[in-house]
Amino acid sequence: MSSISSPVRQDLLLQFEAAARSAAASIERVPYSAESLAAAVKRIATGRIAIAETLDLPPDLFADLRKLPGLVRGRSKEELAACDVGVTEAFAGVARTGSVCVAVDHDYSGAISLLARMHVAVLSAETITERPGDLFNPRYLHGKTLQRNFVFITGPSATADMGPLVRGVHGPHQLHIIILE
């Protein structure tokens, strides 16, 4: 089990990437800087973009993102629902399932990660842990308290209720994970 502040375990990182892809997420590694992050988002995101505040990551890291064209500042549910892309931090990743954990009560992260057609989750590599249950283990949390309100996100929203598997239902059609190294 890794912990929130332990060094990156390459095996977990690789396992995380493979699991996230098989859960139909897209994924890329990006150097840990505001410019690189903004450039990465710019490559994949077009249209109206909503960006939530960072949680554990330094706020400066998202500074360049806010200079992207199409930035939406409004926070009404109608404005957020009209966005094409929502960017949030993910405070943890789960290697076995390829899940990212988002604190849904932190600066509209819940709505921003859900209402747009594409959700971009920004994840710091050293927060990747082995399995979902680790999130509930004080040892992994390393002195921090677990978020009161969060969600394990595993791939885009999906349904098989209409017959075949369809991706993109009430939530995003695409989940893009950016791992900061």
């Binding site: 849904v104 017959g163 009430h170």
Partner: protein, 751 residues
């Protein structure tokens, strides 16, 4: 099959407390819903096998989850008090509803107090149980079901047919037809994508305009007042977080002591349910959410109500048997792994809300015993037992429900003849149950009187009478009674003459082998002795399987007691117990834990083997090469086999050795991938279930046909008696027991 004019609609057969309604529901499901149900449940089922195999400590997680649930239900009243304090401390509201009615009224009042006009709902079986929508709509509130399956059901006005996929009985084509009939639209609705887009757009508007959101809860933690919501679509996240008012409704049994306790459950629920590592969204919330202001221009405090429903659960908790059902986490694994469920789904194998093997206990607990009548569709095949993430012994629950329903039926509608028979056999059950449950007695007399008894049995007048009196379908050929039983035939065999003794064993002549198919037993004796096993036969004793399967639990208990005393004598002489019939072996290895002291059960379990399993084990232990003793190339029918292992044989882990043995001696073995053949002991013989049984069998027959379409014909092999009968009925071909094959191909010289 009945004619379509008589086919009922799902809604009209929701209440199956009377037998004719149950039979009507089975007909309806076979006519209309079977293909979609089969396709969807089997996809879930194979997904689950893959996903759970990928969890390295799957068994440990199940133990942990089971232990947590046992403790939680034991401490429930205390946990409810803790939870109430936690929820209130968080700024939420807590309501414990004694009845479903009370829950529905409370929620309706909260909504009307808020002047709510539109409510969005996530999927919640508990809300179905308490008829919440009816109450809300009666108060003039529009209810939008937002889970796409529930959306379909709301349009169709049907009850759910599955705990986690409530509309799995709908094919894409039927959904298209339903939407086209219901909605005036020019949009194309001919693919899953188009249907989903259409529903998404419609429901997005509902979400944005909703005054309140009502969700269920998969788990609730007493220490923090947190709830877990598991979903794939995102509708539950929107329901719980977009409107200013969130109400969660759940049964009291969902409460766990601590948030830390969630770990095994979160890791088990999605793999067990849909075969995913985690569902798309697993939310762990501690409402009302404090940090995020409402999604409106002026921040408003969000409001949260947790409504816990008793509605019979606290009484279930006191029930010596049914309390186990409260451990259920509603993953649906028992539904998907059930051959009968795969064939008809929850509109036949289910009550008004809860379905499948576990559903009987829930309907009995929340609505009343007779609403569990559909649990008769549980054949006790046991395939669900190892699939349950909290290790609920579902067949045991259903045997007990059967016993209670038997007593009720006899009391209510038993004829004088039936009551006399019941008194005679010391069993409070209708005649058909006694007939099937006491095969030991019928077999004994049938064999004594054979071949006369077989001749009588097959007279049209007898078949007609038996169909009427004891419910044996006249289209089924009853297995003939053997005029020479295994125990009397074995006496004529010369004893073991192998010079080297490689093992000491005693063959237990189960009643099916003894009275019905002694040739399988004789082949086993011959084969085992030929490899140097010092083998004796035990006395005949009813092991309890037949009576247990009919809900004659007290009889089964006595039979288990007698059989265990008999077997222990041999075990203490240093002999292993060999059983030919897998359903009898499963009694010894699995079900006897209900009937015997723990140490006695463990002793019998550890020393009991299926015949080929024992043979394979001896060969392995002595490092002997199976091919030195047996050679497939000697078999007159060739080396290509199709092997179907018995359901209970798979559950107790006794199927693989036969496959390995047959391959080791040179057979080319194709195996079936079905959970159960559909005959399931006496189930398929019953007039009421003949069509269902043959419907289940179709999967097996088709697998044989498909395998043979790729090459030549294969010799059919099955270990279970009833599987053998079913394969024979479906394909009209001879079916062999593995021991019969081995007896035919053994080396003549002693090795």
């Amino acid at each position: 099959m009945s004619n379509p004019a008589t086919v009922a609609s799902p809604r009209t057969v929701a209440n199956k407390s009377e037998k004719p309604a149950l039979l009507g529901a089975i007909r309806m499901a076979l006519e209309i819903e079977s293909p979609a149900v089969r396709h969807n449940t089997q996809a879930f089922n194979s997904g689950r096998y893959l996903a759970t195999a990928a969890i390295p400590d799957y068994d440990r997680l199940k133990d942990q989850a089971r232990a947590t649930k046992e403790a939680a239900i034991a401490r429930l009243p205390e946990l409810l008090a803790t939870l109430e304090a936690s929820v209130k401390g968080n700024g939420g509201n807590f309501f414990l509803a004694k009845t479903g009615e009370e829950a529905a009224r409370y929620i309706t009042k909260v909504c009307t107090d808020h002047q709510a006009r539109l409510v969005v709902k996530g999927k919640s079986m508990t809300s179905e149980e308490v008829h919440l929508n009816l109450h809300l709509e009666a108060a003039g509130i529009e209810v939008a079901e937002t889970d796409l399956a529930e959306f379909i059901l709301q349009i169709a006005d049907e009850q759910p047919s599955h705990l986690i996929g409530p509309a799995i009985h709908y094919s894409r084509e039927r959904i298209t037809a339903l939407f086209k009939k219901r909605f005036q639209t020019d949009l194309p609705l001919d693919t899953g994508e188009e249907l989903t887009r259409f529903a998404r757009e419609m429901l997005r508007q509902k979400f944005l305009n909703a005054d309140a959101g009502i969700s269920g809860a998969n788990f609730i933690t007493a220490d923090t007042g947190s709830i877990v919501l598991v979903e794939s679509e995102g509708n539950i996240r929107l329901t719980s977080q977009l409107p200013p008012l969130h109400i969660a409704i759940a049964g009291v049994e969902k409460v766990l002591p601590k948030r830390e306790d969630l770990a095994p459950f979160i890791e088990l629920i999605a793999p067990s349910a849909t075969g995913q590592g985690l569902a798309s969204y697993t939310s762990v919330l501690t409402p009302p959410m404090q940090a995020a202001p409402a999604l409106s221009d002026s921040p408003v405090q969000r409001e949260f109500h947790l409504v816990l429903v008793d509605n019979g659960r606290l009484q279930m908790r006191e029930d010596p048997v049914l309390h186990e059902a409260l451990y259920c986490i509603r993953c649906g694994a028992c539904l998907n792994s059930c051959a009968n469920f795969q064939t008809v789904g929850g509109h036949a194998f289910g009550g008004e809300t809860y379905s499948g093997g576990i559903g009987g206990s829930w309907e009995a607990g929340t609505r009343g015993l007779l609403n569990a009548r559909f649990s008769e569709l549980c054949t006790g095949c046991s395939r669900c037992v190892m699939q349950c993430p909290v290790r609920i012994d579902i067949p045991w629950l259903n045997s007990n429900l059967r016993e209670r329903i038997n007593e009720c039926d006899l009391e209510k509608s038993g004829s004088i003849l039936e009551k006399a028979a019941a008194a005679q056999f010391h069993a409070k059950a209708p005649l058909p149950k006694i007939f099937f449950g006491r095969y030991d007695l019928f077999g004994k007399w049938g064999s004594r009187l054979a071949p006369l008894s077989n001749w009588i049995n097959n007279l049209p007048i007898t078949r007609a009478l038996m169909e009427r009196l004891v419910g044996v379908d006249r289209r089924r050929q009853l297995p003939p009674f053997a005029s020479t039983t295994l125990s009397s035939a074995a006496r004529r065999l010369s004893p073991s003459k192998a010079s080297s003794c490689r093992g000491k064993a005693a063959l237990f002549p189960d009643i099916f082998t003894n009275y019905g198919s002694p040739e399988r037993g004789l082949a086993a004796i011959e084969v085992l002795r030929s490899v140097g096993i010092d083998l004796v036969l035990t006395e005949v004793s009813a092991d309890g399987r037949a009576s247990l399967s009919q809900g004659l639990i007290k009889t089964a208990q006595q039979q288990a007691q007698r059989t265990s005393e008999l077997l222990l004598k041999y075990i203490r002489e240093g002999r292993e117990i060999i059983v030919v019939e897998p359903s009898a072996l499963a009694m010894l290895r699995l079900d006897y834990r209900r009937f015997l002291p723990h140490d006695v059960f463990e002793e019998i379990r550890a020393h009991s083997f299926e015949a080929v399993e024992y043979l394979w084990r001896i060969l392995q232990e002595r490092q002997l090469n199976a091919a030195d003793f047996f050679s497939a190339f000697r078999h007159p029918l060739g080396t290509r086999l199709f092997y179907h292992s018995h359901c209970q044989q798979k559950t107790i882990g006794a199927a693989a050795p036969t496959e390995e043995m047959l391959r080791a001696v040179g057979f080319d073995v194709a195996t079936s991938g079905v959970e159960c053949c559909g005959m399931a002991g006496s189930f398929g013989y019953k007039k009421d279930f003949y069509d269902l049984s043959m419907g289940v069998g179709e999967d097996l027959f088709n697998q044989v046909r498909a395998t043979e379409a790729e090459g030549e014909r294969r010799t059919l092999v099955a270990t279970g008696t009833s599987c053998q009968e079913q394969l024979h009925a479906g394909l009209q071909r001879k079916v062999f027991h593995p021991m019969e094959l081995l007896a035919a191909i053994r080396a003549t010289a002693e090795i």
